[in-house]
Each structure stands twice: as structure tokens, then as C-alpha cells.
Amino acid sequence: MFLLETVQPMAATGSFLYAWLMIAAPLVVAGILLVGGRVTDAWGHLLATLAIWVSFAVAAVIFAEMWSRPVGERVVESHLYEWFSVGSWSFPVGLYVDPLSILFALLITGVGGLIHIYSIGYMAHDPRRRRFFAFLNLFVAAMLILVLADNYLVLFIGWEGVGLASYLLISFWQERPAAAAAGVKAFVMNRVGDIGMTLAIFSMLAMFGSVRFQTVTEGAAQLQPLWATMIGLFLLLGACGKSAQVPLQAWLLDAMEGPTPVSALIHAATMVTAGVYLVVRSHAIFEASPVAQLAVVIVGTVTLLAGAWIGCSKDDIKKVLAGSTMSQIGYMMLAAGIGPAGYAFAIFHLLTHGAFKANMFLGAGSVMHGMNDDVNMRHFGNLSKYMKVTFATFGIGYLAIIGFPFLSGYFSKDHIIEAAFHANAVAGVCALLGAGITAFYMTRLMLMTFFGEERWLAGVHPHESPKVMTIPLIILAVLSIVLGALMNSWIQGWLEPAVGNHPHEVSLIPTPIGWATLIVVALGVLVGWMVFGRRPVPAVAPSSSNPLTVTGRHDLFGDAINDVVAVAPTMGAARGLAHFDKHGLDGAVDATAFAFGGLSKQMRKLQNGYARSYALTMVLGFVGVAVLLILTHLA
């Protein structure tokens, strides 16, 4: 292990002084909308959208200023106030603006802003639109706290804040029991991950007496290996929860119950990538523990395959995309676990994925918009004719994700696969395989949705969405095309102050592994076309005994496993304890009372009303006393 070069943060100056505005704007607006009530119904959504763009503007200005600074001055720490301090521990609230976090801020506010605009159209007729925008703003604020925090505890505030917002938005249509349940499930599973987060924080406090990124990064190398591993694994657990990585993946599919813009923003572009951010941010810890690193690689690899598997077998368009999201985040995890070589690639893929996946989710939303909110792809077909803009933009996203040359996914994913091969052949092969599967199920999605015959349900009249929805799609599609090429050779250098890696040379020309990837992807597309493109798709899912399909349709039995491992025991214990309290503990108390009552009734029989019996009792008592006297004297 080598000690990484780190850049000392400097105090905030210039536009950095206003970094807090990024968080404050959406937070304040969320507060206004929630407290203000119906008064704000008419213009609330506009205000909310404005707030996000204000944040974006601030982020952009800061980004520009950061770019203009020399590399050594790009990490800025701005202390806001003392949250609390106790004993020798101090927990300040501060912002940590560095090349990594500003990229996130741009992603969050940029994609967030687009999705806000999109939502204006998407949620136009929802009676609780104001609340929706308030929650979205709350989410953006929390997410910004997460990425801009200068220590793990403040990060945790954002971490939980996005969890809350995610819960609120998944359950947004709460009159649907499935949505309400999905929200709770998401929150609770995230909380399981939070065990890891909190334990990591506790461990850091025990080890360093501080949770500042700076302190942890500098001190990580001095950790005992055991503790480094522990902290690493704790962090990984947290990351798994938030990023829906195996084994805490089950909530993400259910989370698709939320409105589609939510799926796009939270469950594709931003929140679910927080785990990757966390691992990259904590790179020093992982570098101190090869075990933890390996664990990250394993989790990432397993998840990228698992997500892809699920993506292959779902008919629900959003769930396919959700599986795909899991899978893509698996790639990022894998990259982040590889070590210094992978951090930049993880972030790179994260950014491009944010663009094209948001694009596709919004596209799916647009499709649903035209299909009376149906999500079953078996009821779609031939939509390319009726929804041209949606089709075009979706198509670009499709090409980007499968890694069509020179679109954004091509650069970012190939780098990961290549890096994976260098680090760990097994992971590399899996990643390569995953790329093929990705191509397969995305092809399936495209074919079932936009091509083939029309399998629409009665009364459905597909139509293109309004401009307010298509314009964000177009912008995101453009980003999906150019982002990869723009950042390919730039990202490593840019992130150097944050992750301390020296850039590798990356070229636009495919390497041997790159070629292999292209071939595998092409194969995937071909197979997809062979299966779904050449013959009609049944409108009802054919029953299948293929274990792969069955497992995939059941989300790899994630719910069943959770049920057996956690839910059933917990609920059983809960009911058992509630019952035991009433009948066991209270029963014991009642039994004692009852026993005393019975004793009392028995003893009262001695009080039989006969004076002679009383006299006898007295004499016997006297004898007893006499015996006692004798006994005490013998003793």
C-alpha cells in the first residue's frame, strides 16, 4: 500500500462562499411548499423548478471557478457552523467542494432540473402536484448535502434525507397499497444499509476521534488492518443499501411504483449512485484493506450480473430499466473496488449513466404517458410510429447503454471492463458477459416497445408527449451522445485532487479488450433480435419453466430470501413479544396477584368465627414462640 498524495483543502473564497446556496435554495422552497399549503398550489411547481436551476447555476459558476484554478487549489472546505461538539469530538457542518463533489452537484442539479421541467408536464393533472415538487426539491437538497458534506456525519444527514425523499416519492401515490408498501420497503432496506454507515462512523470516531474526510483519508493508512477491513465492509454495507447492490437490492424494483420522473432522478441518475460516491470518497479506507476492496469487487460483479438477469426476464418496462440500473451501478461498484485505477472510471460511468438512464426512464415515462400508464411491454409494440421524439431519444439512450461506439456508454463502460480485466480476470469476464446481456435485454426492450406489431389494450391511443416533456428528453439524448467523448480524456485528470490517482492514457481507439467487448455486445443485440425481433411477442407472458426465467421474474427470489432471513423472523418475534408481554410477563404478574388472592381466601378460612378456635390458635402460637425460643437458645 502506498500513501496517496492528497491535496490539502483550502478555505472558501469567491463563488465557493456561496456553495451553501445550492442546498439552501431547494430546501427553502421545499419548506415553503410544504408549510404554505394550498396557497402555493398554483405556482409551486414553477418555484421548485426555478430553485433547482438556481442551484445548477451556482454549481456551474463554482465549477467554472474551480476549473480556472490551479490543480492544487481545487479542493475547498467551507465551514458553516458547529452542529454539535461533545467531549473531544466535534461535528461541524461544512461543505467540501472538490472536483468530485462539484461533478455530482452538476449532475444532480442538471439532471434534476431537466426532470423538474419534465415533471411539470408529467404531473400536470395530479392533485398533489405541489407536494410532489416539494418532495423533489427536498430530495435535491438532501442529495446535495450528501455529496457536498465535508464529513461522514453530515454526509449521513444527506444520506438519510435522500432516503426519506425516496420513501416519500415512491409512496407518492399512497392510495395504492403497493406504492405505500414499496416506500416502506425501500426505507427499511436502506436502514439496514445504514447500520453499516453508522457503524462505519462509530468506528471512525473510535479510531480517529473525527469523521472529517480529511482526517479519515490521512489516517487510514495507520489503521490496523482489521479495523480498516471492518470500516470498509461497514461502508460497503451502507453503499449496498443505498445503491441497491446485492444483497440489499430487492427494494429497487418495487421502487418503480413511484412516478416515473422519480425513478429517473432518484432511482437511476442520482441517489442510487450515492453508494459509489461513498466508496470513492472513502478510497483511502479501501486502499488500506485489500479484503474490503475485494468485497466491493465481488458485490459489484454479482450485482451487475444479477441486475442484468432481472432485466432479461421482466415485462414491466420500468423494472427492466431498474434491473439495468442495478447492473450498471454494479459496474461502477466494480470499478470503484478495483482501486486507484478504477475510481475515475466509476465516476465517469456514473455521470454518463446518469444522463442516458435518466433519458431512458423519462422516455419510458413518455411511453406510459401515451399508453394510459401501462407499463407492460407486452401491451406495447410499434410505438416508433406514434412517438417519434420519444423513440429517437430512447434509441440514443439504448445505443449509449449498450456501448455503441463513440456514444457515452462506450467510453465509460469499456474502461471499466478493461480495468477489471487488469485487476481480476474473473471480474473482467463477468463484466464482459454483463455487457452482452445488457445488449440483449435492452434490445428486447426496444423491440417489444417500439417495433413489432401493435398489441395495445383496448382504448389506448398512443400519442407523443407535450414539449415540456420532450425537450428534456432531447437534451438528455444529446448529453448521452457527447458526454463520453467530452470527458474521456479529461475526467481522470480532473478527479486527481479528489481521488489521488495519476491519469492513465486512454484513447479513442479500442484496445483488444475493447474489441472483445464490441463483439460481445453485437452478439447480445443479435440474440435479442433473433428471439424477439423475428417473431411476434405474445401479449401474455408465456409460462416458463426455465429456471433462469422463473428466477429472474421473481427478482432472483430477493423478496423470498428477505422474507425468510429477516421479515418473517422479525414479524414473528414482534407478534410473539407483543403476545408474550400480554400473556407471559403480564401473565406472571397476574398469576402472582391471583396467587395472593387465592392465598388470601384460603387464609381467611382460618378466621372461622369460632372463639375457641381463635383461642387454640393463640395457644398454638404460644407453643410456636416457645419452640422458637428454645431453638434460638440451642443455636
Binding site: K605, N608, G609, A611
Partner: protein
């Protein structure tokens, strides 16, 4: 004669009287047994006065007699009252108050 014999006699008397209280139902007889117990005490007092060589015990016996007389007055009054009400002097008949 050994004065201790008086003590033994007194003890026997006391025991007999006490058993009498326990076994006899008739309130008057039970009451008489109590008096017998008091008298056995008198015997003890007198015997000890002799043994200890002072008169205190004997004087005390007189006090006891007076007290016993007073007790008789009260006791008979109560027994009479009960008898007039219930037409019975059985102690066991009076057992309304119990449990």
C-alpha cells in the same frame, strides 16, 4: 413441703383450665376456666412469695382477686346479654363474624 410442688400444681391447674377454655362450648364454663387460670396464677404468686422471701407476691394475689372479681362482673354481664338475645350460652353459636 417443697414449695416447687405448688408451682407444678399451679402449672397443671393452668393447663387444665386452658384446655377447658378450648374444649367447653358453654360460655359460663369457659369463663370459669379463665377464672381458674387466674387462680393458678395466684398460687404461683403465693408460692414464689414464699420462696423469694418477700410479701409482694402475696399482696399481688389480692390484687388479682379484685381484678378477677371485676372481670366476673363484666363477663357475666356480657354472657347474660348474649343469653337473653340468643337463648343460648354456647360460644360456638356466636359465629356470625368470620372470614
Amino acid at each position: 413441703m417443697n414449695p416447687e410442688n405448688y408451682l407444678i400444681l399451679a402449672a397443671i391447674l393452668f393447663a387444665i383450665a386452658a384446655v377447658g377454655v378450648l374444649v367447653r362450648r358453654n360460655a359460663l364454663i369457659a369463663f370459669m376456666c379463665v377464672e381458674l387460670m387466674l387462680n393458678s396464677c395466684n398460687l404461683v404468686l403465693a408460692a414464689f412469695a414464699q420462696m423469694r422471701g418477700n410479701l409482694d407476691g402475696q399482696v399481688a394475689a389480692f390484687f388479682v382477686m379484685v381484678v378477677a372479681a371485676a372481670e366476673v362482673v363484666v363477663g357475666l354481664a356480657i354472657v347474660m346479654m348474649i343469653y337473653r338475645t340468643r337463648r343460648s350460652t354456647s360460644v360456638d353459636d356466636a359465629n356470625l363474624l368470620k372470614l
